[in-house]
């Protein structure tokens, strides 16, 4: 960091100012003049109906804060799914295009289990175990038999995802399912972020969904735990060494196939947990397997294949692109994440944190 400042003083200053401005945007109460500037001037520059709408949306701090929090919490969901995908790819070079199916399947299983037991929290272990078991099957029956045959592995997982999608449609139909969080979690909480100031001088604090915040915290804890496990424990370091040099891993006498199965099961289980989270945030429906597969592909391409911090960074960027895009440019919101991907590919083909 110090070296970066010394080498690129101008850029460091720009980044510092941008960060300070961002913090101000988040924590300060936006002065009226600033709101007017956004509404009238920025809206006016763009012009037309779109400019008017855009300016209006831009001038409301509540829109900005909600989009920001939505983005960060959506990033938590993306991270859960993409971390499993990238972990599996990083260690085994397996591209599992059935990862989205594991997500949706885990979600459905979690839904059924929560309905049956009446406990939302139990949906998580259930989804984890079932998706992990499916992952183990995939690893043993598909990937192990086709080691080194990238393309065939990919084709087989595409086939499996088509079959699973139809089986799930068969069982659960085309309806939307929502996994209901317990009442103590579903009420919104007041955050410490000011969204506006009333004319009486009273400060209005933003209310935000507590369940999304809890999941965000859980995802951060999980991410940090994964990072620590990979960087600070013996097994983790061995796995990381195995990423660089497969032969070395087998030379240490570690039962490499057992490690592979465990990592695969863990990654698949994370996707299952992602399904429960997605089912609680939003809903579960056919087609979301492909949608979340695509999102996690983009996350790992942007962040760098095989890197856990990369998955976190990619998830944050893509999550924010999705929600900020939806808040300000509703029409083309879906395209932003692809633009980010294209830009990253053009300048850093291996992803932001990927190694060349």
């Amino acid at each position: 960091m110090k070296r970066f400042i010394e080498r690129r003083p101008v850029w460091s200053l720009v980044i510092l100012i941008a960060a300070a401005f961002f913090l101000w945007l988040v924590f300060a109460i936006w002065p009226d003049s600033f709101e007017d500037f956004l509404k009238e001037d920025v809206g006016g520059w763009i012009g037309g109906d779109f400019g008017k709408q855009f300016g209006r949306a831009l001038s409301r701090k509540k829109v900005f804060l909600s989009a920001l929090l939505d983005g960060v919490t959506l990033a938590a969901l993306y991270f859960l799914i993409a971390a499993g995908f990238t972990l599996i790819f990083g260690l085994m070079r397996n591209v599992n295009l059935a990862h989205g199916s594991l997500y949706l399947f885990g979600g459905y299983v979690g839904y059924e289990f929560a309905e049956w037991t009446g406990y939302w929290l139990l949906a998580f272990p259930a989804a984890f175990v079932v998706s992990a078991a499916l992952g183990v099957l995939l690893q043993v029956l598909v990937f192990r038999r086709m080691e080194g045959e990238d393309l065939r592995q990919t084709l087989v997982t595409i086939g499996i995802s088509i079959v699973l999608a139809d089986v799930m449609l068969w069982i659960w139909g085309g309806d939307f399912y929502q996994i209901l969080a317990p009442s103590w979690l579903s009420a919104p909480v007041e955050t410490f972020l000011a969204s506006a100031q009333k004319s009486s001088g009273e400060i209005v604090y933003l209310k935000y969904s507590s369940i999304r915040l809890v999941i965000l915290v859980a995802a951060i804890v999980l991410g940090v735990a994964m990072w620590l496990a990979l960087n600070r424990t013996r097994v983790g370091m061995l796995i990381r060494a195995g990423v660089d040099d497969r032969d070395m891993l087998s030379a240490t006498g570690i039962p490499i196939q057992v490690v592979f199965v465990c990592v695969f099961a863990f990654g698949a289980g994370l996707a299952g947990i992602g399904g429960v989270v997605g089912g609680t945030f939003q809903s579960l429906a056919p087609g979301e397997d492909t949608e979340y597969l695509l999102s996690s592909l983009i996350v790992v391409i942007v962040g760098g294949m095989g890197s856990i911090p990369g998955a976190a960074l990619g998830a944050l960027l893509i999550g924010l692109a999705d929600t900020l895009g939806a808040a300000y440019f509703a029409t083309y919101a879906v395209v932003f994440k692809f633009l980010i991907m294209v830009a990253v590919l053009a300048f850093r083909p291996r992803g932001l944190l990927g190694r060349s």
Binding site: I160, I162, L294, V335
Partner: protein, 357 residues
């Protein structure tokens, strides 16, 4: 990432030009050609349009994937997207029911412009995809395909959003209505044979040979003086021409183009067609397309027959695809090759003729 076994040996050197190999073709080939030409005399409109015409048009799009995947080792999922892009362009430059967008250019300007822009689009896609190697290609092209699908779904300025364009008709050349079943059949047959012949011819040209060299060993190709990246991008450009032609035929068959034309499902379907048919030779995609179209049209009947809901069509496709990928390295072509090798083998010695001891 070699896609398949590449049996190029047998067909490799039947004369160095294209025509000699055509004239020397065995009688079975001539018979097959005669059947293709005579089909409209026997087949009904449904078969001509929905089965054969659709097979040729889908086969052409899948052929562009076969060229990239089989000869170039690059499995691109963006081929249907390029085809759909060409369809959109022809609707925008030409005539359609959406009069406030369509420009109404004459066909001789409209069609070349559509193909040209589709090639530009495909080349940019390729330039992005070849920055990384191997399995990344599938993921990146899938993401590009999804991006285009979502974009046209949302954009009403140029692509008319969810509803797309209707009444996109082929030009009435030589006084023929090319959407009439027999005419459509011959038009798609003509372009299918043309595309097939061109791919076969180019596969033995310096460009095609070098592409196969790049597939097998990019490092060595650079050490022979070839610019590997440029070659790969050029392959995308070439494949885009084929995909664009297939896209126009597809759009004309329905007279409409919409986001659904290149939905994720269809993007995957093209992969299924190419893989099921076999990627080692350009005939593979057409075999795959024929099987796909037959399944698409008759799986409902077959499913009802075994007591399943007709909705399980995708299950049939998925399981069939899985079976082919698991049991054959080169789709139907691979099964055919191994069956032929087995039947040629002497039952007593277990040796194929020509095998040295």
């Amino acid at each position: 990432m070699a896609v398949t076994e590449h049996p190029g040996g047998e067909t490799a050197r039947q004369g160095s030009g294209f025509w000699p190999s055509v004239w020397n073709a065995p009688a079975s080939r001539w018979g097959f050609a005669a059947i293709l030409l005579l089909i409209p005399a026997a087949a009904g409109d449904f078969w001509l349009l929905q089965v054969y015409g659709w097979t040729f048009a889908l086969g052409i799009v899948a052929l562009s994937l076969q060229f990239l995947g089989g000869y170039g080792g690059m499995v691109s999922l963006a081929q249907m997207t390029i085809a759909g892009f060409a369809g959109y362009m022809v609707a925008i430059f030409g005539t359609s029911s959406v009069e406030h967008i369509s420009l109404g250019w004459p066909w001789w300007l409209n069609i070349p412009a559509a193909i040209f822009l589709a090639v530009i689009f495909g080349t940019i896609t390729g330039a992005l995809a070849v920055r990384t190697e191997g399995i990344y290609t599938i993921m990146i092209t899938l993401a590009i395909a999804a991006a285009f699908f979502f974009f046209v779904n949302q954009d009403y300025v140029l692509f008319n959003g969810f509803s797309g364009f209707n009444s996109v008709l082929p030009p009435t050349l030589f006084g023929v209505d090319w959407r009439e079943p027999t005419a459509y059949y011959y038009m798609t047959l003509f372009f299918a044979v043309l595309a097939y012949g061109v791919v076969l011819y180019v596969s033995r040209s310096p460009f095609g040979l070098a592409l196969q060299g790049v597939r097998d060993n990019p490092r060595r190709m650079a050490a022979l003086g070839f610019n590997v990246t440029a070659h790969r991008i050029a392959a995308y450009a070439f494949a885009s021409v084929i995909a664009a032609v297939g896209g126009l035929l597809l759009v004309w068959s329905n007279a409409q183009v919409s986001p659904g034309t290149q939905s994720i499902d269809w993007v995957i379907n093209i992969l299924i067609i190419a893989v099921v048919g076999g990627m080692s030779r350009p005939i593979g995609p057409f075999i795959g397309a024929f099987i796909f179209v037959l399944l698409e049209n008759w799986s409902e009947t077959a499913l009802a027959w075994v007591g399943l809901s007709p909705e399980r069509f995708k299950l049939v496709i998925g399981l069939g695809f899985l079976a082919i990928v698991l049991w054959s390295r080169d789709g139907v072509l691979g099964i055919w090759e191994s069956w032929r090798a087995r039947s040629r083998r002497d039952p007593l010695t277990g040796r194929a003729p020509g095998d040295d001891a």
